[in-house]
């Protein structure tokens, strides 16, 4: 997982999976950004191959936090058919902007 910060925006680039194992790390990175006042956040999923309900739960949770603070969360670069299908299954694009 990598985080890039530019001006007042940030990009979190995930690794290959977002799941039970690394959800705390994912949350820690996100919390640091919020604490630093960054609420324009992009989740870059170019490396993401698998996601489970833990990962999805974090994404939805982050979206709520950012929205409550008047910010914006969006998802970019989905590369994996599996991830695309999971997002479609839960109609994620009705909740979060996906590019």
């Amino acid at each position: 997982m990598q985080v890039e910060i530019k001006n007042n925006s940030a990009r979190i680039i995930s690794g290959e999976e977002l799941n039970l194992i690394n959800r705390s790390e994912f949350e820690d990175e996100f919390k640091k950004l919020i604490e630093d006042g960054i609420i324009d956040i992009t989740l870059d999923f170019k490396n993401l191959k698998k996601i489970d309900s833990s990962g999805l739960g974090k994404v939805l949770h982050f979206n709520k936090i950012v929205e409550d603070k008047g910010g914006n969360l969006k998802i970019e670069n989905i590369n994996s058919e599996y991830v695309k299908r999971v997002f479609k299954m839960i109609d994620l694009n009705n909740i979060i902007e996906i590019n």
Binding site: L20, S53, S54, Y82
Partner: protein
């Protein structure tokens, strides 16, 4: 006259999340090698299995020696996956997997399992889950 005996696959998996990928790959490999009539099963099985294993490990395995028990079989028109954990279970009788779950993350996983499988059953305690995928649809 040959009749196909349904082979039942049994696994005992240590209760660590790092084990999940391995057992999923195993199940998908078995799926590839057997004839069946069930649509879109690779995706559906992977979704359901990921959640079942994650739930079993996260909620059912508290000490380092805890393990989950997995049973899996494939018939032409039916695929069954059972996961049992050593935990206390949960009150599935009062859960509704169609609506927004009360149990948050555990509920979200169950909702996904429910969405992709044709039947979902629990034992009384709720520490054993059995899902069925049906063919011919």
């Amino acid at each position: 006259m040959d009749n196909d005996q349904t082979k039942i696959y049994n696994y005992i998996i240590p209760g660590q999340a790092e084990q999940i990928t391995g057992i999923i790959n195993e199940l998908l490999q078995i799926l590839e090698s057997v004839d069946h009539n069930i649509s879109d099963i690779e995706f559906r099985l992977e979704i359901a299995a990921r959640e079942m294993f994650a739930n079993g490990i996260e909620y059912g395995c508290k000490s380092p020696d805890d393990q989950i028990v997995v049973e899996f079989w494939i018939e032409k028109d039916k695929i069954v996956l059972i996961v049992e954990d050593p935990g206390e279970g949960f009150n599935w009788q009062e859960s509704n997997f169609e609506i927004e779950p009360v149990l948050d993350e555990r509920g979200r996983g169950l909702k996904m399992i429910n969405k992709v499988s044709d039947k979902i059953e629990f034992n009384e305690e709720g520490n054993l889950i059995k899902i069925t995928f049906l063919g011919g649809k």
